[in-house]
Amino acid sequence: MPKPAAKLAKIALPALVLGGLYLVAIQEHVQREHIRDAAVALTPRCIEKLEGYALAPGKRYESPYVLQRTGARIALRGYSEEDVRAIQRGCNIVDDTQGRFAQDPYAERWNAKRFLRGSHAACSNCHRGIGDRHDAAGNRPQGSLHLGASWVMGDMYDRFTGLLLPYEFRQFQCYMNASNGYKPNIADDVIRDVTAYTRFLSAAVDMKIANHYEEQGIDEIAASATLKQGDDYVRGEWLYKQKCQQCHGPQAFGQEVSGRLVAPALAGRNAWNLQSRNNFYFVSTILAGFICRNMPPGRENTLDNQECRDLAFYISNLPRPAGDKQGPLVAVQQQLLMAVMPPLLRLGASSKTPGPLSRGNGE
């Protein structure tokens, strides 16, 4: 090719590619703007939740929940129509992160699914009751991972990493570890809408920034809170079979019925990864606390501390994906385990007779 023509090609080709990408970007921005302005189709649980808190556009906002619980009329600055739509979209994302109820997951959930691995991960798996669990009397139970409480206690030093973590960064950890996925950009609508929803929750239940609330996070269970029998895999396995297997399945791979998630996976490719704080070997107190305060559904707080730790110990020993800080070797090892262990266990289970422990402790 002659030299001037080659030079022209070197200039024109990148300019054309970059110009084309710029046009695509403009198109994408216009599409996002349309979605932001469009009315939001709420999930059934979000309709109930947000109507219960009387979310509506207006200059002032008064929470009926606060009025009912305290008798005080606390008027806060109201929400614009744009704010309300963001809160509604945020509620939808927390309730239905995978977009199972959405006709168009991209438009209605900002395609949050692309930041998750597997088909089970969803915010409400851990943040029960769309991040705002209430008992029958309307109380917010201890250690229920309330998202409103997380918002008001956000932007604080994280005692595990020693970092000052903004609330958005905390959401990253959920995406990366608890969902074994990828983090969105902080400026992404997925993060902004979930933040808007959690901020609304804190206003709706009258939580104040920097206060400590019992329902925030998990009521952790340390070994010191037990009779110090030691955490036991065998006891954990037996308990799992008695209390959890019915919903989470024999190998803890979760259960889906007709495309609807009955119970999320606790092991395998759909579960949280080794770097999640749910992992007993990373933080031994969190999963135990979650189990005690939130499991089994409808019979919460029925397991004692040692049982919860045994269960957490057993579940954490099941094969699951590696975290991204752990490098390719651990990732390959975990993938191998996840591929090899399930058929071996099925084979073992089919030829196994009940052991003395399961017979003796069957009461």
Partner: protein, 540 residues
């Protein structure tokens, strides 16, 4: 200490000798300063996660120290893309970028890097190890880092917050690309595109090539100012470099070594080793390549010394670590002036520029800086450097593995893979001697040592199974180790083969060298001598 004093005195003397004889050197110095400035700011802010003065001080003091300590007239130190990117990767898990703790740890990391490099100078075999890193490994790493730089700059280019925390870089790059398309700041994208296209166009013209970055940044800055004036900063929301008025001639600093920071300091030790190796690899490779182009030679140990001492001093001057810069050294070479004074003058000119034009530098938009980094990354992916490696299968494998290891592993992993491959590559060459059987002569070229013996032995045993009278010709071997000698001795003791000794081989080669076509007498003489050789070899 005495060695250090002597080294410094000899360097100062050489520096004086190279005092420029024309004012052209100052003009080149000005060009270098103007080219280095946007790079320095971009490396520190976009890649390393520290304020811009870190990069600027590296471009002043790093360049000056290297010019004083390194006798090479083509060597230019200063802030480096790969090292800055590595710092960002190493420090991100420890603390938040731009924070006090992060900056303290950045200085600590720089100091540890300097001390490790000093070990490479003090322990001579360690320094020599760097020479074992082959060209395909270095080029593979450079191409990988080039692509990594483009990926790393994507979010800043799109005016988006930089995603911190560890994740697979290729996935971050893909997500960042989608995020730019979907939610990027369109004003930032426009500024970045104007800078990028201006630089890319100007780079095609030889006369303007060296000014391309500067003009590109100026174009981006002017457009940014236009947007701010017409729409208002509150609407454009484009991040700028910010206030540089705190820059002084010297800004003393102390690396962080508090008791609370000890766990973090320990955590970044592997990173410091990576950083030290990354710097030294580039310095040694750049020195080797550019010195050859300039028709000179400088011992790589002197470059290691210069880098190590500079990096031990720079953390006390609020500076990023330094190492050789391929692109700036190439610029020095292209400008045709090989003088350390020119390089030193560029540092002084840069200092004056930042002291008197800080307000102008402060308004440079960050997307323009990201565009510069992307362009530098693209320039590191040079097809002319890649092509020769792809012609040879072994080189292609080594090059590709080094390239991919930067993208699929972290930089530390890439250094390890690169080093192992380089050693494996040289070993592979050694353990595969050229063994051929012609008639009953088993000819061995290359090495006879424990690694290559299985290849030679298998050929030898195949030969003796078919032939009665096998002759082993090792006259073209250049190295025989102890095990090789023992094997040869065992063969001799067993009377299983005859040898062609080195003297007869050399004689034969001498004959072949002196032989000219048409000289029948000499050919006849040669044949006679060969017959004598054959008779003699049975006596060995």
């Amino acid at each position: 200490m005495k060695a250090l004093a002597l080294a410094l005195r000899s360097h100062a003397f050489l520096l004086w000798e190279q005092w420029p004889k024309s004012s052209g050197h100052l003009l080149v110095g000005l060009t270098l300063a103007l080219v280095t400035l946007p790079q320095a700011v971009a490396f520190s802010v976009t890649l390393a996660g520290v304020p811009p003065h870190f990069g600027i001080y590296a471009a002043i003091w790093g360049v000056l120290f290297c010019a004083l300590l390194n006798p090479s007239p083509v060597f230019q130190g200063g802030p480096n893309t790969a090292m800055s990117a590595a710092m960002g990767v190493i420090l991100l898990p420890t603390s938040a970028p731009f924070g006090t703790e992060y900056m303290g740890l950045a200085l600590t990391l720089g100091l540890m890097c300097g001390l490790i490099q000093l070990l490479f100078w003090l322990i001579r075999p360690l320094g020599r190890m760097l020479d074992l890193i082959s060209e395909p490994v270095i080029n593979g790493m450079i191409c990988g880092i080039g692509l990594f730089l483009i990926f790393r700059s994507l979010t800043t280019f799109g005016g988006l917050p930089v995603n911190t925390e560890v994740e697979w870089p290729l996935w971050i790059a893909w997500q960042s690309f989608l995020a730019i398309l979907e939610i990027g700041n369109l004003h930032a994208i426009e500024i970045g595109l104007i800078t990028l296209i201006t630089c890319a166009v100007l780079q095609q013209f030889d006369r303007l090539r060296n000014w391309a970055i500067l003009i590109g940044v100026a174009a981006g800055t002017l457009y940014s100012q236009y947007l701010n004036a017409t729409l208002g900063l509150q609407n454009t929301l484009v991040e700028e470099i910010g206030n540089l008025s705190s820059i002084r001639v010297v800004s003393p600093s102390l690396p962080l070594f508090t008791q609370e920071a000890v766990p973090d300091v320990i955590a970044i030790v592997p990173g410091a080793v990576t950083l030290a190796l990354l710097g030294l690899f580039q310095t040694v490779a750049a020195m080797r390549r550019m010195s050859r182009k300039a028709g000179g030679f400088t011992d790589s140990r002197k470059a290691i010394f210069a880098d190590a001492v500079s990096n031990c001093l720079l953390p006390f001057l609020s500076s990023l670590p330094t190492c050789a810069s391929f692109n700036r050294m190439w610029l020095v070479h292209k400008l045709g002036i090989h003088s350390r004074i020119t390089i030193a003058s560029s540092a002084i000119i840069l200092l004056l520029l930042v002291l008197f034009f800080a307000k102008v530098i402060a308004i440079i938009p960050m997307p323009a800086m990201a565009a510069v980094i992307m362009l530098l990354g693209a320039n590191m992916l040079n097809w002319e450097d890649i092509k020769p490696h792809l012609k040879n299968r072994r080189e292609a494998v080594v090059f590709t593995a080094s390239f991919l290891s930067v993208l699929f592993l972290d930089l530390f992993g890439a250094v390890i893979v690169g080093s192992v491959l380089a050693i494996a590559y040289s070993k592979w060459e050694q353990v595969n001697p050229n063994v051929s059987l012609r008639g009953n002569v088993l000819k061995i070229r290359g090495n006879i040592y424990y690694g290559s013996l299985p290849v030679i032995e298998s050929m030898y045993h195949r030969a003796i199974s078919r032939l009665e009278d096998v002759i082993i010709d090792f006259s073209e071997c250049y190295y025989i180790d102890e095990e090789g000698i023992r094997w040869l001795a065992a063969l001799k003791a067993g009377q299983k083969a005859a040898f062609v000794d080195r003297r007869s081989g050399r004689d034969r080669r001498d004959d072949e060298a002196t032989e000219t076509p048409g000289s029948g007498e000499r050919r006849g003489e040669s044949r006679r001598r060969r017959k004598q050789d054959r008779r003699r070899r049975t006596d060995i």
